[in-house]
């Protein structure tokens, strides 16, 4: 695969020009996707000097979707990172938690839901531990509008963050632990885009992100919302949602919000990564915060009072910026729902 990355590059620079880290940090601090994925593997003497920059890649895949040759740039960067074993304090903590609790973050409480049913809701480690309230609101909405929603007694991290830090064995172990848990479900719904993608790829389960579930599986007449007062919001496009789960999800988000009376959705002049992905939030929190700031600034310029992110992980990172209210998109819809439980 790395071979293909090297050989297929036409040196157009499209990847370099869209990389949010490179735009923010400049070439000196972050040499960009082409340098890391295509050129670096050819000059192995320099690789050691790149271990710092390798930690700064958020795995947003903007480079990859811009590449006219469709090279697997992000994968190549992640593999290079794994080869280095760039272990960080955050990564070690994550591994400890996974060994102890089966989750990347130790859970504080359990969301209230039936433990049996037909439609399995997978809250995700970050969601349940860091934004428990928002997960509960999402869940309440699902219970009100969906059928057979449940959370199994036990579930484990989907393994996605472990893969990002190169801990493939641990990711495989979790995949196997989740297999029997997922088996009984007719539908699998996740709050986090990363979980949806990982469960599809690793477990072969047709997991839906909660936006896909709401838009595709629920009859629109069951989704009735009203905003208590006129409100202006902006939508953040999570990288793993738009580029891995699929770009249709953001169309869904727009349409769902368009159906809310009293709500105005504004476009931002600059779209992009929250800055927290790919282990950057734990390895380089100051960079993650600066990138988050770019997003919230852009939303503020557009006149938004709230920045809505259909991803718990993005919410946690965007909140680092401070200044603007950030909320999970589904839990926001839940607060406006006229038939919440």
């Amino acid at each position: 695969m790395i071979r293909r990355t090297e050989d297929g590059c036409i040196k157009c620079g499209a990847c370099q020009s869209v990389c949010p880290v490179m735009r923010l940090e400049g070439y000196q601090r972050f040499p960009g996707p082409r340098r890391l994925a295509v050129e670096a593997p050819r000059f192995s003497r320099e690789l050691a000097a790149l271990s710092g920059p390798l930690q700064m890649c958020t795995s947003c895949a903007q480079c990859e979707s811009a590449c006219p040759s469709r090279l697997p740039i992000t994968d190549a960067i992640m593999r290079l990172r794994a080869r280095f074993g760039t272990s960080t304090e955050g990564g070690e903590r994550m591994l400890r938690n996974v060994r102890q609790h089966g989750r990347t973050v130790a859970p504080v409480s359990r969301s209230m839901a039936p433990t049996e049913g037909s439609a399995l809701f997978f809250p995700g480690c970050i969601g349940e531990a860091r934004t428990p309230l928002s997960v509960q609101m999402t869940l309440d909405l699902l219970l009100a509008v969906g059928d057979g929603i449940y959370i199994p007694e036990r579930w484990h991290c989907c393994g996605s963050p472990l893969q990002k830090i190169g801990a493939q064995d641990e990711a495989n172990r979790l995949r196997d632990l989740n297999t029997s848990i997922l088996e009984g479900a007719e539908e699998v719904i996740t709050a986090c885009p990363g979980c949806a993608v990982q469960l599809r790829r690793a477990n072969g389960v047709e997991a839906l992100h909660v936006l896909e579930y709401l838009y595709e599986s629920i009859t629109p007449s069951r989704l009735r919302w009203r905003s208590p007062r006129p409100m202006t919001v902006a939508i953040h496009s999570p990288c793993h949602l738009v580029r891995s789960v699929g770009p249709h999800t953001i169309d869904y988000a727009r349409e769902l919000l368009a159906s809310v009376d009293g709500l105005r959705v504004v476009d931002m002049d600059d779209e992009g990564c929250c800055g927290g992905g790919g282990g950057v939030a734990s390895a380089r929190p100051e960079l993650a915060a600066r990138m988050a700031r770019r997003r919230t600034d852009s939303a503020t310029r557009a006149g938004a009072e709230v920045l809505l992110a259909p991803c718990p992980f993005c919410v946690v990172n965007l909140e680092r910026a401070g200044g603007l209210k950030v909320q999970d998109l589904t839990s926001f819809l839940a607060t406006l729902s006229e038939n919440r439980q």
Partner: protein, 367 residues
């Protein structure tokens, strides 16, 4: 796992200059149109300058429609029947019929300052000055400017500092700058002109902002006319029924979506963009459906490059032809995907947009 299906009059696959032009004309005529595209199109990698065949009556028609639409987005481009000459970032001259006056270097001014920004590799003033100086048509002088601010992040401070530097340290009346990293640089350029009192212009630079700007303007035109832009979607397969295409599967992330249509416009570009693929020594259609052949061409030293660029989809009365030789009545290939339309063998953007503008009517006939 399929997404809810979509139904349109015309599905356009490929959202570069060709696809967007065809889509806009069809939408203008009241058709429902969706454009599915993925990855950076060659259009966004180009210099964004368009040279038109002004003897073609479609040129005037396309230009007056498109430039009016550009103006609605705040972009001031004009058409000139006699091509205007611009300077490229390599110091070569480039002829163009459609451009913004803010980007042009008037040929009458012989004393030109070429200003590079330290840390920006789009324009090397030493190289440009050397090259342009050789032609003796001008006396260019190179300058290096070291910006304290980012034009992207601290626009106002950047403009203030550069404006002052141009006024105080540059004696020439015309100043050529690297492209501003902006979708809408017109106000910055105007402000720099006002602050410095000089004729400030931008170099024609491929792989940079001018091409991206053109791309976003063309997308803006289509969106304003009600075209559905499906970004990051790839055409995975086409369903053929007898002599026509009836549906297509697009992929969105890991899922697929069926699109039903009455006509299919293919605008997936040439080998650069993946509309055509290299298979051994042959250039083929990556879907394995259509006939691809080369046209007689010369002017490129490399034999392989010549064969790659002179190859393209075969058409009959503007319609696609299968490998087996039958014509598909409602599949219309447009742009650099078509045989003989690849730059620099074709004329690039100008040929591409005019061909697509006309082909839109062929697509309409097939409805």
């Amino acid at each position: 796992m399929s997404l809810p299906s979509l139904d349109v009059d015309v599905l356009v696959v490929g959202g570069g200059a060709a696809g967007l032009t065809a889509a806009s004309r069809l939408a203008l005529n009241g058709r429902s149109v969706a454009v599915a595209s993925s990855a950076t199109p060659a259009t966004a990698l180009s210099t964004g300058r368009i040279l038109l065949d002004v003897d073609d009556p479609a040129a005037e028609e396309w230009a007056s429609f498109t430039l009016a639409q550009f103006r609605r987005q705040g972009a001031y481009y004009v058409m000139s029947k006699k091509p205007v000459v611009a300077m490229t970032n390599l110091g070569t001259r480039m002829r163009q019929s459609i451009t913004s006056p803010l980007f042009d270097w008037t040929r009458t001014d012989r004393n030109v300052a070429v200003v590079g920004f330290i840390g920006n590799c789009d324009l090397d003033p030493d190289l440009v000055a050397r090259e342009v100086g050789r032609s003796r048509r001008a006396r260019p002088r190179p300058y290096w400017f070291s910006p304290s601010y980012s034009p992207e992040l601290d626009r106002d401070l950047f403009v203030e500092e550069l404006g002052r530097a141009l006024m105080q340290d540059v004696s020439e009346e015309t100043v050529v700058l690297p492209p501003m990293p902006q979708r809408s640089p017109y106000d910055i350029m105007a402000e720099l002109r006002k602050r410095s009192g000089k004729n400030v212009v931008e170099a024609a630079t491929p792989l940079s902002w001018p091409g991206r700007r053109l791309q976003s303007l063309l997308e803006g035109v289509a969106a304003r006319l009600g075209v559905t832009l499906l970004k990051d979607r790839r055409l995975a397969s086409i369903q053929l029924d007898g002599g026509e295409a009836s549906a297509a599967q697009l992929s969105s992330g890991g899922r697929s979506q069926r699109v039903d249509f009455n006509a299919l416009v293919l605008a997936t570009g040439n080998v650069t963009s993946g509309g055509l693929a290299v298979e051994g020594r042959d250039i083929v259609d990556p879907l394995g459906i259509f006939q691809v052949a080369s046209s007689p061409a010369s002017g490129i030293a490399s034999r392989h490059l010549l064969s790659a660029l002179s190859s393209g989809m075969v058409t009959r009365d503007g319609k696609a032809v299968t490998r087996q030789g039958s014509t598909l009545r409602n599949v219309i290939p447009v742009g650099s995907l078509v045989r003989g339309m690849s730059y620099p063998l074709g004329r690039g953007l100008g040929d591409v947009v005019l061909q697509a503008w006309k082909a839109a009517l062929v697509a309409e006939d097939a409805l």
